[in-house]
Symmetry: C2
Subunit: 415 residues, 2 copies
């Protein structure tokens, strides 16, 4: 298998991060260095959907300087997708089609950049192709602001989002305390089932410029406790800043918006969230008769590339590079993963984890890292997270604004 010659194909999947394109840059730029083995470099237009439709961008047509700029361009430049492949034992239509397309375009190196669901998809594709007799390496590149991927110390995208959360909370702390009137500010942070991103609030707390109360989805959300927590801080300090994960659930497993309306669900069966801060703000206002503001970091926290962590950009890029190098060695059915050697000084090693291990297993914040009474996170968390937000790395300025990558996005002619 190590002498395979053919096309490299990258697909991006799931929600954007500030550095998903940095991983793409790693894959593309490394792939372009091996013309002896790599006969084409494709980007799948909207992930799996693009493959099923034989819809690819030809990355060899791009200016390498623009590919370099991808490192600092947020979201998914070649298009992402939320498309769930069926279980091949139940319905293998899509898988057969994928093998057909891979054969037709001689795709021999497949990279899938995404979170838990994507690693699951990549593993199933890998298995199916093996059984179909089509030799093709399949490598997963981790990506998620939620940091819930199993089998890796952390995931690209988390460091930058955590830096956004901590920096912005520090700024909000200054803003939310300027008046001498009572005020409650409730900030909603992304994270479906894992509270890593909300936990990043602790980095602002360490500076004395963070929230007073922190609620992670790892712990059952108790409404009575919440209102009494808020009331207590309000009495003590006159100001309360709350950081809360969109994913907190009560003892019945209900998200906060579900107390008020039936939840819609996406194609993966995940609840469509949002509104947690607003709903709680209304409740606090009603109960405590105080000025309340609800803030959602919304898409800004996952696309704030201007505030990306240098460590994160570098690791995301090298995860892509490592993926290509491993694929050329014949490695397959693996995810590029990070193994931490030490936190201070920060030392990390790129390793490989079985795709099957990452698939659909969520890595959550250890309960012993969560301080009692929603007071934040322990020193262990700070030691874990701090190295991941170090340094700045952003797009050069042009007219005072980021100069993001400007790709030609030339389609590969259909065969």
């Amino acid at each position: 298998m190590s002498k395979l010659k053919g096309v490299v194909l990258l697909g991006q999947s799931g929600g954007p991060t500030s550095v998903i394109n940095a991983s793409a840059a790693g894959v593309f730029l490394e792939a372009l260095k091996h013309p002896d083995r790599i006969t084409g470099v494709y980007g799948a237009v909207h992930g799996i959907k693009g493959i099923l439709n034989e819809d690819f961008y030809d990355m060899t047509k791009e200016d390498p300087k623009e590919l370099e700029l991808l490192k600092n361009t947020p979201a998914s430049m070649i298009g992402s997708v939320r498309y769930k492949l069926a279980d091949p034992k139940v319905d293998d239509t899509d898988y057969k089609r994928l093998v057909e397309v891979f054969r037709k375009y001689n795709i021999r190196y497949f990279f899938y950049n995404g979170g838990n669901d994507s690693m699951d998809t990549a593993h199933k594709i890998s298995e199916f192709m093996k059984n179909s007799g089509w030799e093709c390496t399949v490598i997963g590149i981790p990506k998620t602001i939620d940091n819930d991927l199993y089998g890796t110390d952390h995931s690209p995208g988390y460091g930058s989002a955590a830096k956004y959360v901590a920096t912005t909370l520090m700024e909000l702390y200054h803003d939310a305390t300027v008046y001498d009137t009572k005020q409650v500010t409730i900030v909603e942070i992304m994270g479906r089932n894992a509270g890593w991103l909300t936990a990043a609030s602790q980095l602002a707390i360490e500076k004395g410029q963070g929230p007073d109360l922190v609620y992670l989805p790892e712990q059952v959300f108790d409404y009575d406790k919440f209102f009494s927590d808020v009331e207590k801080v309000l009495e003590e300090k006159g100001k309360v800043i709350v950081a809360i994960s969109e994913g907190v659930q009560d003892a019945e497993g209900k998200y906060i918006p579900a107390h008020f309306q039936e939840l819609r669900t996406d194609s993966f069966g995940h609840a469509q969230l949002g509104g947690t801060a607003t709903i709680l703000a209304e409740q606090v206002q009603e109960r405590l008769n105080v000025k309340v503001r609800a803030i959602e970091f919304s898409l800004m926290q996952r696309s704030g590339a201007h505030l990306a962590s240098k460590v994160d950009v570098r690791e995301a890029f090298h995860a892509g590079v490592k993926g290509v190098r491993e694929a050329l060695k014949g490695t397959t059915d693996k995810m590029v993963a990070f193994k931490r050697i030490s936190s201070n000084p920060y030392k990390m090693k790129y390793v490989l984890a079985p795709l099957s291990m990452a698939a659909n297993t969520e890595q959550k914040v250890p309960l012993e890292w969560i301080l009692p009474d929603n007071k934040g996170l322990s020193k262990e968390f700070v030691e874990y997270a701090l190295p991941l937000i170090q340094g700045d790395d952003k797009a050069p300025l042009e007219d005072g604004l980021p100069r993001f990558a400007n790709l030609k996005l030339v389609r590969v002619p259909k065969k």
Copy 2:
């Protein structure tokens, strides 16, 4: 008057910006250079309220290095206030008290940093003191992200907020277009009666990475037109990004939330806004049955010091410096203002405008700069705004996070 000797007092008023503390740094650091004339440097704790309560910080106790860091620290470090003084013809209680306190502490140089309401307040104080025989120069330092202050080309705070809006919209553009599904994203931007900040969307549009539709409060908001605008773009492109000011009003002068509930008002008689994007998003979803997301830039747009414009930080600082220099010359009842000499290259002169001129007169976006069909702003606007967002200037990083000013905030002993 030019030989007056006494205390400098600075008050901050109204909503925070990224650079209100830069102006404070300008006042404090310049004042500290003139011990022959300036016998004390005070910060009023929560603006006018602090003066009425004889509650001051002694800025001479601060480390000058920390005062330098104020340039990049958002919001109001000495506390702000929304307190409306009565018309002195109706009730002069507060004014008498102010003069009493000024005499007691020998305050001879008073600086008030704020927007329209604050300039009005400063002017009334100036008049009253003149009539009371207490010699004290009164200088206004402009400040507002809304950029609606009359008598100045632009106001400190606007450039940085505009840079936040344009940069973040560019990032959201990338995020909001990654899926191949239809999507409407509605972004709500601050600005009560003037649309300058929402207009900054045009800077992102110029890069091909901005909203499709832009709604300013300078034009009557027509619901039918809005829904048909959105539907049209959705049919053409499949994605719609809308930038809308919180302050848009229909033909009856009603804000969008007022269609649904009675508006609360603050002590200046201004409506408490918010919810515009959410309400419109719900309406669009109902009518067009499409995936919709409402985003509010909320406090982030006015406290995002990590994304401050270098030009803005510099001008805010020098407005403070200029204020002190003018006061020492005996200038009074004036606001430090900016006069533009040219846009390209950008040249600007610090001048003085009568406080009475700035007071309560709102500078709005010229109607002739607004393109038809909510397509954005003209080249004239771009020429106007572009110089104001140039360059980066942010706090140094410590542990990967901003190292904001750390003041001792020592109280002046009450006399």
